[in-house]
Amino acid sequence: MMPRFFRRAAVSVLCAASFVLATPVWAEDPPDVQVKNVSAEVLAIVREDKGIAAGDMRHAVELIDAKVSPHFNFTRMAALAVGRDWRAATPEQKTALTAEFRALLVRSYSNALNRFKELQIVVKPLRMEANADEVIVRTEVRQPGKAADTVDYSLEKKDGQWKVYDVSVAGVSLISSYRDSFGQEIKASGIDGLIKSLKAKNSKNSESDAASGNSAKK
């Protein structure tokens, strides 16, 4: 009798334990914690990368890309920036647009981080409903001797993971800022023209990353 009880108890405990262990409870931090961690990590990259000290941004850009990309929904960002014309694009065009837009954003972001390295990022506490699937994480970026700027991340929950689909600096949405230029380009030379412009821009930027053209020392 007793051993049977113990055996059953042991089995239930094992079942419970395996259930808990199987659910990746730790994989998904709340979005504000994720923003905080990733921000700290990219700042560390920019401050410590030896390549940057020598004037070459490329390695740092790769690291930053690897670090932030899992947390961004670049497809949706590209779709929002392109607007109505997105529906008319072919899947290949969509892929190309997403890839080029991502390269543009990551590179500009990395360069900006490098230029303003002494900044301090403070993540505001987040109040969020339990089953919300869209949230805005507000942060403040402080530079010594200047007023703080607000940077807000709009995140959505996709397949159980939080991903950024827009960033607003001082209230100005990144996606909306690009809509104008993208719209003009599409009107002038269609979606392929836009892809070509983005590609040209990206290769130009990566050339100046390699050369020590990034010496905008304050």
């Binding site: 997105w86 500009s108 104008d180």
Partner: protein
């Protein structure tokens, strides 16, 4: 006297017709002219303002530069207080007056921003934002020589802030006034160093015109609305949005009224 009143009335009517007819997005009817002025401003910046500002940064220690920035910022708090009052934001106006008093006395003529330490934070209001607060639409985008991006409303508003500003009262001597203005320009430009390169990298293609226009107009709209976060009304159409992917199209129309009906859309009456 009568002629002036007539002109004022005509001016007001023209303003009303143009601005109240506007709806977002950006209206830029004189784009070719704007682009010329924009190019001029950029060249002036590249060959004069930026090098001078870089020299300023190199020659003057950070603490002194912060002091200069605070000194001019203190003057800026006067039109800010005035405009907060005009917008009915009495608390904010009182805070601004508090800032001016504290910084001018304890902060030694404004060089030290004591007020921010004490929790009286800096606001940024001007008559263009006051007009916006009262419902005046921004009007067409304009690039002003030297002053840069603006809109019709914000340009018309400039003289009001100038009239309210006390900087002119500091001294009657033209030479000193010019030196002060010069220093202020350099100080402001120094604070913005690095941003022009960031803009150039972020812009599509070689020219930053469209991006600057977008940024400026959005920023002004947000300031009028007290910094409201972005509303993505477009993504009701957005096929990539998880909202729209989850919904089956005919039963749950994506354009159902959501709490996202943006308060910042200025509907033309």
């Amino acid at each position: 006297m009568r002629a002036r009143q007539v002109w004022a009335a005509v001016g007001a009517l023209v303003l009303a017709k143009t601005v109240w007819a506007q709806a977002e997005p950006v209206s830029d009817p004189i784009e070719p002219v704007n682009r010329v002025v924009f190019g001029f401003n950029n060249r002036l910046d590249r060959y004069l303002m930026k090098p001078v500002a870089q020299g300023y940064v190199a020659a003057v220690p950070t603490s002194a530069r912060v002091g200069v920035s605070n000194f001019f910022g203190n003057f800026g708090d006067v039109p800010t207080a005035f405009n907060n009052l005009l917008q009915g934001k009495v608390g904010a106006a009182a805070s601004d007056v508090g800032r001016i008093l504290v910084n001018s006395t304890v902060g030694i003529l404004g060089f030290i921003d004591v007020a921010s330490e004490v929790g009286l934070n800096k606001h940024k209001e001007d008559f263009g934002l006051t007009l916006g607060h009262w419902g005046v639409g921004a009007g067409p985008y304009m690039v002003l020589p030297l002053l840069g991006p603006s809109t019709l409303r914000d340009t018309v508003a400039l003289p009001v802030d100038y009239a309210v500003g006390v900087q002119r009262a500091v001294t009657q001597e033209v030479a000193v006034r010019n030196a002060m203005t010069g220093l202020q320009l350099v100080s402001v430009r120094a604070d913005l160093l690095g941003l022009d390169q960031t803009l150039e990298e972020a812009a599509l293609g070689d020219d930053t015109y469209a991006l600057v226009r977008s940024l400026y107009v959005q920023r002004r709209n947000n300031l009028v609305n007290g910094g409201a976060p972005p509303r993505h009304d477009d993504d009701l159409d957005d096929p990539e949005s998880p909202h729209n992917q989850a919904k089956s199209a005919p039963l749950a129309p994506a354009t159902a009224p959501t709490p996202e009906s943006s308060p910042e859309k200025k509907e033309s009456p």
